[in-house]
Symmetry: C2
Subunit: 202 residues, 2 copies
DNA sequence: TCATGGGAAGTGAGTACTTACTCACCAGTG
DNA sequence: CACTGGTGAGTAAGTACTCACTTCCCATGA
């Protein structure tokens, strides 16, 4: 039973949450305000009390998702300790965990990009910029220290992120699982392993 | 000036082409039959002479795109010659070239997956299955031969494809370019390089 | 060569339904 | 009481698709 009357703030939050789920499954044009209203358990007109337009609701959702930025708390200690594998492993794990924790995240990221949404770029950056900056800086330092081959740190970063992202795409968008023994943990270990060995100075 | 009257076959082909472009930019629900008709230069009713429904048109497009399967002509000679770098380089180049040759390809792949289209799985497989099979088999052979570390060939394959796919995603969907010196050629070489070194037996 | 018929391609107008949003009013709470 | 949250009914525009008809083209026969 949905509570009949909430504060404006609370109702907004509820609408955003329900709509995020729908938008992530059907995209902007594929989601009707009627569906959103039903999911929330209110009248369609109520949505428009809180958001002037459907567009404004979508933008509010993207902004909310972008707000939950990737925080690199876990990888910093490993970086300080010069624990290469620890850095990579933690980054990969955190990226994967974020997506698992919020199933709408990746789908909304891709839907908004495909739809050419004005906030798409900001959304993407909120998800990847910190990881990119952190890892490319770390790789650059390790190269300067002679531990890694000298390659472009950005490119190397993209290569690593690419492995993680593809892993997520296969599962979240394309419903691929692979052989049963390929757990996420094993997948992460192999990514870390192939990448680390690949960038080491021979 | 659009020719006023074409054979049924030719008109179908023309509609599919114009609609593919629109669907790849706006998705299914975001593309109206009116827009398609205008892009083709015919009356809306004409579309429905050739396709019973909008859905049928979309399916025809996906099927057409799936038909242009990845053909692995280039990598086979390199595989025979045991030219590891050649195999990987050729695969990456061909994947990238395909997407560049048809800008609708990747966008339609992702739109249809996000939209949960019944043909999405088939579409995905048409694009990746052969590369996956080919490369995982090749990697398996190289592992058996002692040249590569023993890891799961599927996982290793996904890691490599992930790097290529992310490169494409950044450019085709997210409009990212990276530093100017990062040409596609350089990117491919680094992917091949990090991967090869990463899977070599230490 | 020309005329005719049939089949297929194509159109303008319209239909029925869908969709985002508004309006006038009601209900709840401090 | 005043303000804010919420509703049922409705509106205007959008959308996929149909209908009744026209046009074109090719094959055939005279």
């Amino acid at each position: 039973m949905v509570k009949a009357r909430l504060s404006g703030q609370e109702r907004r939050r509820q609408i955003i949450e329900a709509a995020a789920d729908l938008f992530s499954r059907k995209g902007f044009r594929g989601t009707t305000t009627r569906q959103v209203a039903e999911a929330v358990g209110v009248c369609e007109a109520t949505l428009f009390k809180h958001f002037a337009t459907k567009e404004e609701l979508y933008a509010a959702i993207i902004e909310a998702k972008a707000q939950t930025q990737e925080i690199l708390t876990g990888a910093v200690p490993a970086a300080r300790a010069g624990d290469d594998a620890g850095v990579l492993r933690t980054l990969a794990r955190e990226m994967i965990a974020r997506v698992k924790a919020d199933p709408t995240l990746m789908r909304l990221l891709f839907f908004s990009a495909l739809e050419g949404h004005v906030l798409s770029d900001m959304f993407f950056r909120s998800r990847f910029q910190q990881v990119e900056d952190f890892l490319s800086r770390y790789l650059g330092e390790r190269m300067a220290a002679g531990a890694f081959r000298t390659v472009d740190p950005i490119q190397a970063t993209w290569n690593f992120i690419g492995m993680v992202a593809y892993h997520l795409l296969l599962r979240e968008l394309f419903g691929r699982k692979g052989p049963a023994h390929l757990t996420t943990e094993r997948a992460v270990e192999e990514m870390v392993s192939v990448f680390l060995q690949g960038v080491r100075r021979p």
